[in-house]
């Protein structure tokens, strides 16, 4: 890479890379550490959107500096992930509510049968 030698390019790219990696790590740590499923939904979505956003900005800056022209195609990944991750989250929450409710109903009918 030719344009990366300038500190005005390299320092923001390096900072954004480290920030993105740490944000993704914190999000996945939340996925492991938090207690209930509804709480666990929050960690990865924060890490994914914010961490991926940092990474995309870093790769736009580095690619533009290397090619000496604006390189915007990494934005496609962000747009796609930001558009699709709420759909997945909503479907998963609905699935969890549905499954919890049906499990409760099964145990309730079992209790009623025993009485």
């Amino acid at each position: 890479m030719s344009g990366i030698e300038s500190p005005w390019v390299a320092v923001p790219v390096a900072l954004l890379l480290v920030a993105g990696g740490l944000l993704a790590l914190v999000g996945s740590l939340g996925l492991v550490r938090l207690r209930s499923f509804q709480a666990r939904m929050h960690g990865p979505s924060m890490g994914n959107t914010l961490g991926l956003g940092c990474l995309i900005i870093a790769s736009i800056i580095a690619g533009s500096a290397a090619a000496q022209r604006p390189v915007l195609h990494p934005l496609l990944v962000t747009v796609f992930v930001v558009m699709t991750s709420p759909v997945t989250a909503m479907l998963l929450i609905r699935a969890s509510i549905h499954r919890e409710r049906s499990r409760l109903e099964v145990s309730r009918t079992r209790v009623a049968e025993q009485q």
Binding site: P7, L25, L31, R40, P44, L55, L91
Partner: protein, 95 residues
Amino acid sequence: MSMATLVDVAAWLASGCFGAAMLLAAWRVIHGPAAHDRVLGLDTLYVNALAMLLAYGLRFGSGAWFEIALLIALFGFVGSVALAKFLLRGEVIEP
């Protein structure tokens, strides 16, 4: 330390963080108490893999990494939605 080395070290560090995040997500996929926990872990896993490929692309400066990342985003979304739909309804494509 030259500036290219700085970016290289930062990309290594970011790749390590994404790898650790993938391991944590894989732990959730294996140990998740409910089925929707596993689907959420799989979702996190593919987004972290995508981010790792983007960090590789930044370090090695080739165009193919970006296209692989885009394909992972597409197929990962389709897979997660299919799994969530299956958990919700019991079938993926409804008649």
